[in-house]
Symmetry: C2
Subunit: 798 residues, 2 copies
């Protein structure tokens, strides 16, 4: 029997080799080989539960108590992520508010004497801040540039992009966004906060950063991509919750981006993380209110409270609101399109020239932004203050050094204000607060708003894609609320009713632009409600979002999808393509499959791994009757770990369970885990002696014994759904089966859980006994799976 | 060749028959056979996209234009569902408010003269209303009793329960809940509204009710269970949105109940439906404000505005809030447990005795409720009114015939109020408004609240399960806010701070009880925020919900899950059971499989269908080389349609595409669709002549050619995920494959969509050409699939 088996093994090896010359390089490449232009690569994640032997044995040893412990640790990590993200958000907000507040206070105090000196100081401070940001990004953490949301979306969709979740990226993101936002560029800190939350979650999940010796062994608890993804989802939600102080919005954001595999237990944990963030942020704000945080007391976390705004709306107002939706869709789609062009141009021409060009570019944009935001208000004539209403609490002009409406800037009289400076020469948070503010009808002139809209829109487009951390939420809200307020002014003049507030229209405009650009739906709606603290406008925001998304969808895809595509992140959309309906699995699958026999020579493994770049290999064994049988899927990364550690090499070409004196399996799943965003081992890193090359490896303990399979003529639509819904990385396309052993229906899956493990074993044994009877009566089974018996039944209770 | 094929067909038939005697009745039964005690049955739904021939041909004929039209129709239906559910909600609210308002106004005017007469009138009105409700339910629409949420949850989980989505159920639900809620029972109208929304959606989806001749041919647009389920999801969300005026809460409710298959396109449509409901309800309320709706102007739709309540909270308050969470978890779990016992008892003893007993029971409970709610306040001594605060706008006692706090009931002096009557002798909406109200510290005595808590809790438990439409939200809020207010009173006395509002604690109590009983998370949180219109309490509500759900989960499952289990609705939970990890697909699957050959004699079909109750049958064909090959899955219901229509019978035992003069396939998928909640055809309804029995059917055009398959030793956990995530009804368990034809990775699924269909065909052809080359070089393929070629490649572009 043994010699027969040996024969089989060798034959299989020959079979493999006979096929090899045909397997050209990159022929059946995984996503891992979608080389990006900058040389970095992306890699697929595997969200399947690992089911190989080591996993099962560990599970069996650990049992139920372990599972309970595991759940507790998961919740503990959710808590840590919430606290970490909350603190990071507080730190970023505090720094930005203090830099910006100090900058504006200094400038205002200087311009009392000289506008030229004030201008120079203002420009220089901005330049220094932006330079620090772009220097950090280009020299320390290149993956931290941009918003990071496309990358996180990619990770949650199943694509790991190199460098995105590293410790240095986290640090670069935090300090970079302080510089870029504090430096007054037309970008926000919300996207970077989402990325920050995801980094914190990922680093916690893998127990710190190994490179910087910050890792801790006892934190290394989560071994599968699936666990990590759950943590990153929590981090993503925590980031949104912290950025907007919108915990429900955070949950929905994470949900809307990742609906392919959402489970309700996870929803509950994500919810918990968001609640923790809310508590942390609230505590920090309470601490800051007592004056510990400098300028932070008044600004900081986004809450543009409009709860004292318009209470009601009449049906005539629905038409101008619909118009806002259409404008939002058009301008949003235009924004997406322009940023595509500019990103492509940057990538193909500008950023090829190295870091120096990136730094010069960012500094140039900072100079332009400073010039415009200081210079344009100078050209604008001041308006006289409106009659003051002591009840509203709004002063005109605002007291120097404070936040508020009615900025006195380059005005000849004391009782005047400069409406353009009120929105332009201000932090973005305050500008938005002014645009949203109620009871300030006729504060802004149409001319100023239009000027601001055109200038800021252009600045936002140009700034997008520079090598600094950059969110798109706040610029989007700025742009949207400007034209929204314009429409509102028109409505006030046209309908001549008293209860119409321009601020409400500004809010709807903001929603419409975000909807038209990002194409989010429920989450955006809830975020808008949470940041404005006004539930009454919910149906109106819904309406505007519906329209702007529909209009935008007519032109292009959402901002994040487009950017992900440009960055070479292969996102799987939720809906399969139309032509997939007419394709079969066989037509879609890669052409040649390279497979391994169960016991394989080390030299063969090395050659096969060198000869192609496939990431998964079927393992094929032979039955006693000589038929071939697919026994599982072996991952390239696992093979590399085996080659590197060498402990599982054996001299005999026999399966290890048949070899006399077989050793217990040494590998635990944790050894096979690749840290997130790292490149992993390459075959070129592995050096083996010639003795090693002559040895064998039995792959059986390390393979995934039951990958999902589809028959060759299944429609690709169905395959797509299977792949995406279950978060798979590989599916085997197999011939149509020759017979059906059983049919599983809902009833078969309704098993009552028995608390006592003894009952479980009893039941399991009885099922097994029943099945044995069956296999005897059928007369098959045993003849077919002799080599597998040792392998596949091993994990049953003995 | 033909005779060979004939031979094969006959042999297969023999094979089938040789197996038949072993197939005992109900041996491998589907869920369809989970007979419920009342004789009704539940049936699995099939959410897979139907992929048989007729479907493909229709698709090909219709093309892209049709798909666009289809999308438009889907949105139009979402609009209709929103309008329909909104109007139904307005009708129910209007009726309830008018009945209840008129009842209380009449009683109050009579008790000015005589308390005895007032009592008799009050009891009689309640009795009449409850009787009308229970009569409608018992004699007209038995499926409309209870809340309906477990049944809808079941439907969305993939189980169709007979009678739940019929037109008569809709009517019974609407009128029944008017009676039961108007009659003052301890139940709410929110659950029934969710059911109402789902019924409206389902009826629209199948184009009306055929039984009542209300169907319209042009509305019969949605043929698959999947489309119907999407519509019912919209209806479910619309129901919640209408019941609570909580559009976001509605979306999240639908989402949380059905996370197994959620897609983001659907989320967007559900969102739209909810927005429509919000607009419809708002319009109706605006219309009612002008006095067109009687008593409706002041009460009606749930908005317990607490936005003028507590603004802030201190850290010391977190402890009593956590205590509220624990109490909520304990009382909620107790409620679930008590209702389980009482439901079991009712089912086994009381309701077996027929409708008369059900009517007597409901009337008896109505009498008890009336006695307690009128009698207990009589025993309570009145309190003197607090010093009036003209700013708060709260009068004491409230003017007669109005809504508000401080009810003067059986008081000796004018300036007194009865605190027990304020909550007990009132509509539930007003009672909750009073419990939530701010600036009314010390309104209620601890004794009254405790009395009310005990009495109302008992009433709610007893009322649950009577044969009337009954929601659990409002009673839950009543119970929760009572003990919440109790804790609040304690906090006010203990901390002695000014800004603590008892109403805020009442709100948290309500959230905690609902969390402890229903175990919903995000959706409940959002609903609570939306109905109280106060976003600032969100983190507190989250905290309380987290605690109460965790405490409740330690004891039992959520209310809806428990009730679904009692009703025999086999819900698949989101998490597979622990012991499934150690089981394989083969162990779980039914023992014997009955399969059909491709061409089968009518008499054989009839015998097989009679001999078992399986709902799905594998169809097995033979290749030229004599090997068997599984070619698809045939559903019992489709077979029955074929037997009934007879048009596809043929005289020849050859496959129809090989028969000279083969007819085009006549069946369109719509003929195979079973209306929701109907029993469908039974084999006993079909009468065939002896000539018919001698004919043959070729099953190939009607089968699902590629059902999902799993290898026999795949772990049951993985099978479970596959089954639930994709919403399947059947999975084939097959032997391990002998070889791997291809491997599908993410890259293979990234196909760029080409707008022009010509490009699509070109591309498709080129893929096919490539594949042909491959099959020639491999030398296999053709030999293996001769009979299938005609069948399976037919739908490729010719």
């Amino acid at each position: 029997m043994l010699s027969n088996q040996l024969q089989n093994g060798l034959e299989t090896a020959k079979l493999v080799w006979s096929r090899l010359p045909n397997a050209e390089e990159g022929d059946q490449e995984d996503v891992g080989l979608l080389q990006k232009r900058d040389g970095s690569s992306v890699e697929s994640l595997d969200y399947e539960v690992i089911e190989n032997h080591a996993y099962w044995e560990e599970q069996a040893q650990r049992g139920k108590l372990f599972v309970g412990y595991y759940v507790v640790v998961k919740w503990f990590f959710a808590l840590l992520i919430g606290i970490g993200t909350g603190l990071a958000a507080v730190f970023i907000n505090l720094s930005v508010e203090n830099f910006a507040g100090w900058k504006f206070a200094l400038t205002f105090s200087i311009i009392q004497k000289s506008y030229v000196a004030g201008f120079i100081v203002y420009v220089l401070i901005n330049l220094v801040l932006v330079f620090s940001s772009v220097y950090i990004i280009t020299h320390f953490a290149p993956a931290a540039s941009g918003s990071g949301i496309p990358e996180i979306k990619g990770y949650l969709n199943g694509v790991d992009i190199h460098g995105v979740l590293l410790f240095r990226t986290l640090i670069g993101k935090i300090f970079g966004s302080i510089g870029s936002v504090g430096g007054g560029l037309a970008l926000g800190k919300e996207g970077p906060l989402v990325h920050t939350g995801a980094c914190i979650a990922s680093l916690l999940g893998q127990g710190g950063s190994t490179k910087y010796h910050l890792s801790s062994r006892w934190l290394q608890f989560f071994n599968s991509d699936r666990d990590r993804r759950d943590l990153v989802t929590c981090g993503c939600a925590a980031g949104v919750a912290a950025a907007f102080r919108a915990p429900v919005g955070g949950v929905l954001f994470a949900l809307e981006e990742v609906t392919s595999w959402w489970r309700s237990q996870l929803m509950w944990r994500v919810f918990f993380t968001s609640a923790i963030v809310a508590v942390v942020v609230r505590t920090a704000m309470g601490w800051c209110k007592s004056g510990n945080c400098g300028h932070f007391g008044s600004g900081g976390f986004i809450i543009w409270d409009t709860s004292d705004g318009q209470e009601d709306y009449s049906f005539e107002e629905l038409l101008p609101m619909a118009v806002i939706g259409v404008i939002g869709g058009l301008l949003g789609a235009l924004f997406n399109q322009l940023t595509i062009y500019i990103t492509k141009w940057r990538r193909n021409h500008l950023h090829k020239k190295g870091n120096r060009v990136k730094i010069i570019e960012a500094c140039l944009i900072s100079l332009i932004t400073s010039f415009i935001s200081f210079g344009l208000p100078l050209l604008r004539k001041c308006s006289p203050c409106p009659e003051s209403d002591p009840e509203s609490g709004i002063e005109c002009p605002r007291p120097p050094g404070m936040y508020g409406n009615y900025v006195n800037f380059y005005c000849s009289k004391d009782k005047e204000y400069n409406d353009l400076a009120t929105i332009f020469f201000n932090t973005q948070d305050d500008a938005i607060r002014n645009l949203f503010s109620a009871k300030t009808i006729h504060e802004f002139s149409a001319q100023s708003l239009l000027t601001f809209l055109v200038m800021f829109y252009s600045l936002a487009v140009v700034t997008f894609g520079t090598a600094v951390p950059a969110g798109q939420f706040v610029p989007g809200i700025m742009i949207g609320s400007t034209y929204g307020r314009l429409v509102g002014m028109f409505v006030v003049n046209f309908y001549k009713k008293l209860n119409i507030e321009e601020g409400t229209y500004a809010l709807l405009g903001a929603a419409s632009f975000l909807g038209g650009s990002m194409r989010m739906t429920v989450s955006l709606c809830v975020i808008m409600v949470e940041i404005t603290n006004n539930l009454k406008l919910l149906p109106l925001i819904m309406l505007v979002l519906l329209i702007s998304k529909a209009v935008g969808d007519a032109f292009n895809e959402g901002l994040y999808e487009e950017q992900a595509r440009l960055r070479g992140i292969p996102l799987l959309e939720s809906r399969p393509k139309y032509q997939m309906r007419k394709m079969t699995a066989r037509e879609a699958s890669g052409e040649r499959v390279v497979s391994f026999p169960r016991v394989v020579k080390v030299a063969d493994v090395v050659s096969i791994l060198r000869s192609n770049k496939h990431n998964g290999f079927p393992v094929i064994d032979h039955t006693r009757s000589g038929e071939t049988l697919v026994i599982g899927l072996m991952l390239r990364s696992h093979l590399l770990v085996l080659l590197q550690s060498k402990v599982d090499f054996q001299h005999s070409p026999l399966p290890c369970d048949l070899t006399p004196g077989a050793r217990p399996i040494r590998h635990t799943p944790s050894e096979f885990v690749k840290p997130a965003s790292s490149k992993g081992i390459s075959i070129d890193d592995i050096h083996l002696s010639s003795d090693d090359l002559e040895m064998y490896i039995d792959l059986a303990p390390f393979l995934n014994p039951s990958p999902y399979i589809v028959p060759e003529d299944m429609s690709l639509t169905k395959v797509y759904n299977l792949f995406r819904q279950l978060g798979l990385r590989h599916i085997f396309v197999v011939p149509r089966p020759s017979r059906v052993i059983g049919l599983i229906t809902r009833k078969d899956l309704l098993i009552e859980e028995n608390e006592e493990s003894s009952t479980v074993e009893l039941q399991s044994t009885s099922v097994r006994a029943r099945w044995r009877d069956r296999s005897v009566s059928n007369g098959d089974g045993d003849a077919e799976r002799p080599l597998l018996n040792g392998l596949l039944v091993q994990h049953s209770p003995s």
